[in-house]
């Protein structure tokens, strides 16, 4: 029983990272119906910003985390401005292919600048477990889980309680109507990219804390898994992305622990197929009728 609970803890720590990345996918999709394939690479950039802040510039962890959110946020806005905004009136397939192009560009620039060799992420927190009634939870896992939950609560507050959040929700419901109500939709879209990218950047640092090895292609697989999490939870739905990420992390941990690591990805992606067959809009997604 203790073992099972412990595996759940492992799954929650992993899942909270997927959830942070999935939020960016889902927010961008919610607002401009685009799967931003460069999102996994923004997460990688976040990890590298954190790495350089902590090692080269020797900054404290808090400052590094803020920088690792700020710089990806700016990068996210820049990508939207340069690569996606000129294509706003183009067919969605053109934007999708552009997103893949941006992803490849960032990956290869990172290989060029940072070298393809993996780097050890500096260890800031004591590498040992805390004992909760016989259940051992490592300090990095606790930090990652708490930080992720705090960021998600902050995001929820931003979207539900602030004027910007209200505008974001309005744009996601109906872009034209929102713009007629005096909302600067371009600015709101830009802001959505910034927030999503900042969360991905934070996830990059979280991954450095818990699995301390970073390299330029680290974003590919987690990016894909987070995308699946977003679809699983219902793409476009913020609570859905959080739930999807946690389900994804739990599934992976439990499959690895109870069955085998070779089955992990097969079952995780199989889960997606089942959800899409049974409830195509995802667990928390609302099925919308095609607008004519």
């Amino acid at each position: 029983m203790g073992l099972f609970v412990q595996q759940i803890v492992n799954g929650l720590a992993l899942g909270s990272i997927y959830a942070l990345i999935a939020l960016g996918y889902t927010m961008v999709y919610g607002i401009i119906r685009l799967i931003n394939f460069a999102h996994g690479d923004i997460y990688m950039i976040g990890a590298f910003v954190g790495y350089f802040a902590l090692t080269t510039f020797n900054l404290p962890f808090g400052v590094s985390l803020v920088l690792a959110m700020l710089i990806p946020a700016i990068l996210g806005m820049l990508i939207e401005r340069v690569a996606y905004r000129p294509l706003r009136k183009s067919p969605s397939i053109a934007v999708l292919i552009t997103a893949i192009g941006v992803s490849l560009l960032i990956e290869n620039l990172a290989i060029l600048w940072f070298s393809p060799d993996p780097r050890p992420f500096p260890q800031i927190f004591p590498n040992m477990p805390l004992d909760f009634f016989g259940i051992k939870i490592s300090i990095p896992q606790i930090i990652v889980f708490l930080t992720s939950v705090a960021l998600m609560i902050a995001l929820n507050f931003l979207v539900q309680k602030t004027k910007i959040g209200k505008a974001m929700r309005a744009v996601s419901q109906d872009k034209e109507a929102a713009s007629l109500m005096g909302i600067d939709t371009d600015r709101i879209i830009s802001l959505t990219f910034a927030i999503g990218s900042a969360l991905a950047g934070a996830a990059g640092v979280m991954v450095g804390v818990i699995y301390p090895r970073i390299q330029p292609l680290m974003g590919v697989m987690p990016g894909l898994k987070a995308f699946v999490s977003a679809v699983l939870g219902g793409i476009g739905s913020i609570p859905g992305a959080m739930l999807g990420g946690l389900i994804m992390g739990l599934t992976e941990s439990l499959v690895t622990a109870l069955i085998s690591s070779t089955w992990r990805d097969a079952i995780a992606f199989g889960l997606l197929i089942v959800i899409l067959l049974v409830k195509p809009s995802g667990i928390l997604g609302k099925s919308t009728r095609e607008k004519v």
Partner: protein, 388 residues
């Protein structure tokens, strides 16, 4: 207009080919002429590409040995050895071309290499067909030497390491329970894991947990949590240094304080850079230890640094030993006949090289001591040299 451009291009390519051809062979024949009596030995290894670190080290190691032999008067009463160095980029089809060229065109009597297991598999076929011996310094895949009678290696094979570590854990450390965490997408890792489990159990130990991961995994918490629940005394992780560092850190974070054991995949400074204090007190098997104070090792290190201005990895001393082995075999064969040289190689006994003293078993695998190293105060240290 377009056609004219094409013609010019073709002519240019032809001229360039001819120039390169002459430049290459003119250089070669001049070199051969100055030496008089020459024995040609080929070298095949990846000097570019992903495995270049091993290929370049192997080449450097072999060159040091051959320079030494030539400086001491050569072999067979005054024959000098000429090493024909070829880059296979770690690629199997390139290896095929190079093997044919070295044997048919350059008439080498033997070949040092290839360096990695994949190309060695291809080279083994040709070596068997053409009856020219190849000696791989570093191809550790179990099956390599059973592919043809003309393949020998100077490194120990994968499961040999697992066997040695199993014995070390049971006998030297006196442990009774072990867990294994291996990469089930990698032959090397599976081979070591298997041999370790067999040996450890034969010697009275119990493998309490057998967990697997896949290449590219970041998160080992699920497997490590299962291992922690069984509370083993040692954990055997036959994987490469980058994964090993991750596994060590995550294991210590979960409070696993067992002794971690590994194979030659651990032998890299990156392990210590990545894992820090988590690597302290681990043991792994490897080919040689630069901390070994024996004269042979220290002399080799000094020569290597002098000649190549860098620190060697384990491929260098192994290739050095491969060259020694060939020179010794040619001497004993008494003539430049590839079949006789191959027989002499298999009959080698007690040849003393940088990586130990070795003879060969019936499959032309070396019987030699394995170095066991540990991490102490942030540095690698030699623990023991053991024979099975």
């Amino acid at each position: 207009m377009k056609k004219k451009g094409l013609v010019v291009a073709i002519v240019a390519v032809l001229v360039l080919t001819v120039v390169v051809y002459f430049a290459f062979f003119a250089g070669k024949s001049k070199q051969a002429n100055t030496n008089g009596k020459v024995v040609k030995i080929g070298f095949i290894g990846p000097l570019t590409g992903g495995a270049a670190a091993y290929g370049i080290n192997a080449k450097n190691g072999a060159v040091i040995a051959i320079d030494e032999i030539n400086a001491a008067g050569g072999i067979l009463d005054g024959y000098k050895i000429e090493l024909l160095i070829q880059d296979n980029r770690g690629d199997t089809s390139e290896t095929l071309t190079i093997m044919n060229k070295l044997i048919d065109q350059d008439k080498v009597v033997a070949i040092i290499g290839p360096v990695t297991t994949g190309p060695t598999t291809v080279a083994a076929d040709i070596a068997g067909q053409k009856k020219v011996p190849i000696v791989s310094p570093t191809a550790t895949g179990d099956k390599i030497t059973s592919l043809s009678d003309y393949v020998t290696r100077v490194c120990f094979y994968d499961s040999y390491q697992g066997l040695i570590m199993g014995k070390f854990a049971a006998d030297n450390l006196g442990k009774k329970t072990a867990a294994i965490l291996f990469d089930n997408t990698n032959d090397y890792s599976m081979g070591l894991a298997d041999a370790f489990a067999r040996t450890f159990q034969e010697l009275g130990g119990t493998v309490v947990s057998n967990e697997a991961f896949s290449e590219g995994d970041q998160d080992f918490n699920a497997q490590l949590t299962n291992i922690a629940a069984k509370n083993p005394e040692v954990v055997f992780v036959p994987a490469y240094y980058s994964d090993d560092a991750q596994i060590l850190l995550q294991a210590r974070a979960l409070g696993i304080d067992a002794i971690f054991l590994g194979g030659d995949g651990w032998d890299s400074q990156e392990l210590i850079n990545g894992a820090g204090v988590a690597a302290e007190g681990c043991y792994f098997t490897t080919h040689y230890s630069p901390e070994d104070t024996s004269e042979k090792v220290q002399n080799f290190l000094i020569k290597y640094k002098e000649k190549h201005q860098s620190e060697p990895n384990f491929a260098a001393p192994l290739a050095y030993d491969a060259a020694l082995l060939l020179a010794d075999a040619i001497e004993r064969a008494g003539e430049l006949d590839s079949v006789k040289i191959n027989n002499a190689i298999t009959e080698t006994s007690g040849l003393s090289g940088v990586t130990g003293e070795f003879s060969f078993d019936e499959n032309r695998n070396p019987i030699k001591e394995v170095t066991i190293a540990t991490v102490k105060d942030g540095k690698f240290a030699l623990v023991d040299k053991v024979r099975p």
